[in-house]
């Protein structure tokens, strides 16, 4: 008997905190179109290899990233989130990444405050020329999340 109220829906698929042997993290990569997405394309064109755990979402600018996307990602499918935009001063839309930067800091600290490791949500500035940097960033984020294990947002009441 359980009251069945407290359960992350996806815990049907991943109910354990301990990683099963073949577990692979899912990382949501939210990239701005003009710098980071172009940078990730360059990583591809340069055939620089990186771990296959990232799933990329294209958005016009890092300022389009509502912290809500990060929360939703963690809640539903992702074990970690990477948000990447243009370097400060390089924003295609002038000032977008400055606004975004403030939100990211507060979001990151808040998530850490409520008990999720800082490395769950990471941010980077990757320019369109930084194919290698993008690969390095993805490798680092994947490594970090692997160390942290699957994200458990809510324990099941009776487990």
């Amino acid at each position: 008997m359980e009251t069945e109220v407290i359960e992350k829906i996806v815990s049907i698929e991943k109910p354990h905190l301990e990683a099963p042997p073949d577990w692979q993290p899912v990382i949501m990569g939210i990239l701005c179109n003009w710098c980071s997405y172009a940078g990730s394309d360059l990583t591809g064109t340069s055939r620089i290899q990186y771990p296959p755990n990232i799933r990329i979402i294209r958005i016009p600018c890092s300022s389009r990233v509502d912290p809500w996307f990060i929360i939703k990602s963690l809640q539903t499918t992702a074990d970690g989130v990477l948000v990447s935009g243009c370097h400060p001063g390089d924003c295609h839309y002038i000032s977008g990444n400055y606004y975004a930067r403030r939100r990211f800091l507060v979001t990151k600290k808040l998530l850490n405050f409520v008990g999720y490791h800082e490395d769950r949500v990471q941010f980077s500035w990757v320019s369109a020329a930084e194919g290698q940097k993008f690969a390095n960033v993805v490798a680092k984020v994947t490594e970090d999340i692997k160390k942290l294990g699957p994200l458990r947002l809510y324990k099941k009441e009776n487990s």
């Binding site: 394309d41 294209r58 016009p60 600018c61 300022s63 389009r64 499918t77 839309y93 002038i94």
Partner: protein, 657 residues
């Protein structure tokens, strides 16, 4: 019910070798909304596109997902294919399984296949929420406003007008010409400034497509790209330009003498004056601050001598309105005030002048007839010390940036000095010689060789008076010793500083400016002549220090931009812009605050259905919005959404894997 078609590309071996494409197709077929999934060698090829077009028609698809290379590569191609099949092109989504999967996971086919499937799932989920979008067309008023009648403004106005586009050229002073009109000869070819500028000025005055508004200021600019409305104040000149012939009788007889700005105050002009002989328009204006008739109501000599009766002391400022489509800002520069350099005795010693004063003195039509003289006693100087970087590159006292042109004009000045005063000697205190530009380095070399000027590397540290001479003390870094030079005249190459009214103008136009007051370009590298506000462009020193060739080049670039903007009757715009849902908008106006393009305004709508009371909501100007999404993310009530990247689309992507 959504019917999505998925087209997976092998891209030859590029994807096919590293991703199990048929497995990906099978996986895609399992998705509820996918009604059709197929692979093909090259989807971007003609047969590949034909396949998409056929499927759209035969399978009655509601959206299309192409899993291939980066959307930055072929999105346009596939959109075209959709369009050709009669489908809205924005119902396309591209899953980037080449750059983001096959090419970067070449050693792990299983993972690459899985990832490709996930990327397709995300694209399918996103495409379900795609909406039909239509290119936005904004009507344009084909008339350009050029603010500033210096060389940049003149060039921009002429280039635009030559493309048969009407131009309104607004100049604050009584004549166009700007700073260049004050110059004697120009580097690096030493051609006479007046000789090359005045024909252009005359062209402006006579051009059928240019409306010249001298002695005027822009006081208001409303609207958005293609549809601006400018209010221009025509200052009262007290002279009827229509009847005035510019004969000069008035200013010859005028009894009031005022320091002449054009000659940097070295000589005097009259209260009714035309700034310089070649002025365009060559009509005088009355300086209301100094005219005794206007101040005290006594005098009236000019009216008496004017045969045409053009003098009208009752004239008032007049405000004219012009509808325009684009603006070129070319307000130029001012000289930086070297007051902080107390050790140079600026203000205390008369024989310290700035470069523009020197320029006027050596100018053939200048106040001294082309011969430099000491302001203190009128003698012709023999030893002249030029000090470069006064203000420039000096974080402590001046400004951080390099003024770019001082090295060159100082070299020119040494030459001019040498030509005018044969037995003179020039000393130049410099930090570095920056002579990047066609023929520039050669010009500096030539000047040094020809004049034998002594170049001393180092900042002058002190100037003091010794008799009627000035002693300039400084360090010659190359020999590591303090040197003292006896000077008859010291010329300071003071820094270029933004035109003093730039911040006010920027606020008026709704564009941004840096901490000095230089107007900011949209992108330092890729959009150097545009501002963040669509339809407003920058030319000349208003954006950064520039020499004449650069200013002219930039002016022509703005002209090209303006002509491009006006190429059609309407402007076509990407429809991926923000939209406000009035139902949810609270009118907090945070979006207005955050928008980098001032694309958001407010409007009043009824409180609810049947209400008479009004409430304020945000309204996006379609013509201006660039689709960055800044407003979308900060809108707490989620009243704003970004077409093409809606919250729903992104959430669909997030939960799809």
């Amino acid at each position: 019910m959504a019917r999505v078609g998925v087209f997976v590309c092998f891209c030859g071996a590029n994807i096919g070798d590293f991703v199990d494409v048929p497995a990906v197709v099978e996986e895609a077929k399992k998705i509820k909304e996918v009604k059709y999934a197929i692979d093909y060698k090259y989807v971007c090829s003609d047969p590949g596109q034909q396949m998409i077009r056929d499927a759209i028609v035969q399978q009655r698809l509601t959206s299309v997902v192409v899993a291939a290379c980066s959307p930055r590569m072929h999105e346009k191609t596939f959109r075209k294919a959709l369009s050709d099949a009669g489908m809205n092109p924005y119902l396309l989504e591209v899953a980037n399984i080449r750059e983001h999967s096959s090419w970067v996971h070449q050693k792990n086919k299983k993972a690459a296949t899985g990832k490709s499937s996930d990327l397709i799932r995300m694209a399918v989920a996103k495409s379900i929420a795609n909406e039909q979008l239509h290119e936005i067309s904004v009507p344009v008023t084909k008339r350009a406003l050029v603010i500033g009648g210096g060389i940049a403004g003149i060039q921009a106005a002429l280039d635009i007008a030559d493309a048969r586009i009407p131009v309104v050229l607004v100049e604050k002073s009584p004549s166009i010409g700007g700073k260049m009109a004050q110059l004697d000869e120009t580097f690096p070819t030493l051609d006479c400034s007046q000789c090359i500028l005045t024909p252009k000025m005359v062209d402006v005055a006579s051009h059928p497509f240019i409306e010249l508004l001298p002695y005027s200021e822009v006081i208001e600019l409303d609207g958005y790209v293609g549809n601006y409305k400018a209010k221009i104040k025509r200052k009262a000149s007290y002279v009827n330009f229509d009847t005035c012939t510019g004969c000069g009788a008035c200013w010859l007889k005028c009894p009031v003498k005022v320091p002449n700005e054009f000659n940097m105050g070295i000589d005097k002009r009259k209260a009714i004056y035309s700034p310089f002989p070649q002025a365009v328009p060559n009509k005088p204006v009355i300086d209301a601050e100094h005219c005794t008739m206007l101040i005290k109501g006594k005098c009236g000599i000019c009216a008496k001598v004017c045969e045409k009766g053009s003098i009208d002391y009752t004239m008032q400022d007049e405000i004219v309105e012009r509808e325009i489509g684009a603006v070129v800002v070319a307000t130029g520069y001012d000289l930086w005030d070297p007051k902080p350099y107390e050790e140079y005795g600026v203000g205390r010693f008369k024989d310290i002048i700035n470069s523009l004063e020197f320029e006027r003195m050596v100018s053939a039509n200048g106040p001294t007839g082309g011969v430099p003289v000491r302001p203190s006693d009128g003698k012709v100087p023999k030893n002249v010390v030029f000090i470069q970087c006064v203000g420039s590159r000096d974080e402590a006292k001046g400004i951080e940036y390099c003024s770019k042109i001082c090295c060159m004009y100082t070299a020119k000045h040494t030459l001019l000095l040498h030509h005018k005063v044969q037995d003179s000697h020039a000393y130049v205190f410099y930090m570095d010689i920056r002579a990047a530009g066609k023929g520039y380095e050669e010009f500096v070399k030539r000047a040094q060789v020809e004049t034998g000027a002594t170049y001393l590397r180092g900042r002058a540290s002190k100037i003091y008076k010794k008799g009627d001479k000035l002693m300039v003390q400084g360090e010659d870094a190359q020999i590591g010793q303090v040197v003292e030079v006896e000077a008859d005249l010291v010329v300071l190459a003071t820094a270029i500083y933004p035109y003093k009214d730039n911040p006010d103008l920027a606020r008026l136009l709704g564009i941004s400016y840096d901490k000095y007051g230089f107007l900011s370009e949209a992108h330092p590298k890729l959009r150097p002549v545009e501002t963040a506000k669509a339809g407003i462009f920058l030319a000349g020193c208003t954006q950064a220090p520039k020499d004449i060739p650069d200013s002219v080049a930039q002016a022509s670039a703005t002209a090209a931009k303006v002509c491009g903007l006006f190429a059609g009757d309407t402007m076509k715009k990407d429809p991926m812009i923000a939209h406000v849902n009035n139902e949810f908008c609270t009118g907090c106006q945070n979006c207005v605050n955050v928008c980098p393009y001032q694309a958001i305004v407010t409007e009043e709508i009824p409180l609810g259905y049947g209400f008479k009371e009004l409430r304020t909501v945000a309204k996006i100007n379609e013509g201006v919005c660039q689709g960055c999404g800044s407003c979308v993310a900060i809108c707490r009530s989620m009243a704003i959404d970004l077409a093409g990247f809606t919250d729903m689309q992104i959430i669909n992507e997030i939960v799809a894997i």
